[in-house]
């Protein structure tokens, strides 16, 4: 059986599906396959933010640690989602922890490499940022809706 190549895996991820082949090649050139056992941190608050993770399998918790209590879980993300925005913006430091809930398979993309390619090829950079911004937008909307505490008691009868 033929093994799936990295560019094929990259092209299948919702973040990049439908982008032209050369864009996929740009991303794949910065990418490697990684796996994380349950409990392992993908990113740690305060550490240099150098990677964009495209999740292929398993789930990842976005957490924030606090003294005297277990880490607070903000949300979980699974296959088809991405982990890590901080590689995009100075000072390139993770703002949250991200921990594998179960066995996680991800395509890890070097953030500095991706930023450099985006700068060299503005059309690619714009297309990539549009995709990332759309995911950011979805996550922002979801966070705002959750602030409404929709499932709290709202009836009276």
């Amino acid at each position: 059986m033929r093994q799936t190549t990295l560019p094929e895996l990259v092209a299948r991820h919702p973040l990049l599906s439908g982008l032209p082949g050369d864009a996929v090649e740009h991303v794949a050139g910065c990418a490697r396959n990684m796996s994380f056992p349950a409990g392992r941190l993908l990113q740690r608050e305060g550490d240099p933010a150098d990677t964009l993770y495209l999740l292929r399998r398993g789930r990842v918790r976005i957490e924030v640690h606090a003294p005297g209590r277990p880490p607070a879980v903000i949300e979980t993300v699974g296959p088809g989602h991405i982990v890590g925005w901080s590689w995009l913006f100075p000072p390139f430091q993770w703002r949250f922890d991200a921990r594998a809930v179960d066995g996680v398979g991800a395509i890890a993309i070097d953030g500095a490499c991706l930023r450099a390619k985006a700068q060299e090829q503005p059309a690619f950079g714009y297309a990539l940022l549009q995709r990332v911004a759309a995911l950011l937008f979805d996550r922002l909307v979801a966070s705002r809706v959750r602030l409404l505490d929709l499932y709290a008691t709202d009836g009276r009868a």
């Binding site: 879980v73 949300e75 989602h81 809706v145 959750r146 929709l150 709290a152 009276r156 009868a157």
Partner: protein, 282 residues
């Protein structure tokens, strides 16, 4: 006039949600359809609209799942076995599962699908909104064609209702995911908005029918996410709730634009409801 029904079973789903099994005292059990509701009376207290939560194909007592949020629902939730309650109905529209039957020409036309029996079905429920979908889910899990995806959102793990049913539907082959807003220490499932569960789901959007029930804001966002995924708005059905009082489209309390939801709802195609849901109350 409400008919007298006896409570023959009472099951606590969560700290403030109870499922009551009711049997008529004096008449055969009247037929009902998935997603319809009854007006339940706690005598001496009042009457409230509650969706049927058991499948019509199950010949046993009729089940209603009630959340204790006010005087009437508190009286209903406090009812022990043997209590007599009043029941009017069934009322309203249903989830339209017959559209998914093999050879349903009306279903094919309404859904714009050549083979509706093979359609994937996506069910999105938030909080107590799973109750009006439970009967449909019991029958959808037994459906031979198409795949079933169930996405459930709840505030916290202890507020997830129908745990045994969710497990049974998964055992029957459905893809079942539950997400919570506020996890407990021992929760290892998803955390986040229910729409996040739709991102990784592998349903075929071009032949998907979606049933959505929960808080109205959640339904708007869930429908938007489904449409973004490519689901045709004609194939998204939502269950809308307003102040149902008479149940027979006479009093006007449940009016939403041109609809009287006790008659024209609660289940409404999203294509018809979307504009109305954008209207601000004055």
């Amino acid at each position: 006039m409400p008919s007298p029904y006896r409570v023959v079973g009472r099951r606590a789903e969560t700290a403030d949600v109870v499922t009551l099994a009711l049997e008529p005292l004096a008449e055969p059990r009247p037929p009902f359809r998935h997603g319809q509701f009854h007006m339940l009376t706690a005598f001496g207290v009042g009457e409230v609209a509650i969706s049927v939560s058991s499948p019509p194909t199950d010949g046993g007592p009729i089940e209603h799942t009630v959340r204790d949020v006010g005087p009437v629902t508190h009286a209903l939730c406090s009812s022990e076995s043997g209590t007599v309650l009043g029941v009017r109905g069934p009322f309203g529209t249903d989830w339209g599962l017959e559209d998914l039957h093999e050879g349903s020409d009306v279903g094919a036309l309404r859904l714009g699908l050549e083979h509706p029996a093979e359609a994937d079905v996506v069910v999105v429920a938030g909080g107590i909104g799973l109750a009006p979908l439970r009967g449909a889910l019991c029958d959808l899990a037994r459906r031979p064609g198409g795949r079933l995806f169930v996405a459930v959102g709840a505030r916290s793990p202890d507020q997830v209702i129908y745990g045994p049913d969710l497990e049974a539907w998964a055992r029957a082959g459905a893809s079942v995911d539950v997400t919570v807003d506020v996890p407990s220490a021992d929760w290892d499932g998803p955390v986040g908005l229910v729409t996040m569960l739709l991102t990784g789901a592998t349903f075929d959007a071009g032949r998907t029918v979606a049933l959505v029930c929960g808080p109205e804001v959640m339904m708007r966002f869930a429908a938007g996410t489904l449409i973004d995924r490519g689901v045709d708005p004609r194939r998204i059905r939502v269950s809308l709730e307003r102040n149902m009082q008479c149940g027979v489209a006479q009093c006007g309390h449940c009016q939403l634009g041109p609809l009287l939801l006790c008659r024209d709802g609660p289940v409404v195609p999203y294509a018809a409801a979307s504009q109305l849901l954008q209207e601000r109350e004055r």
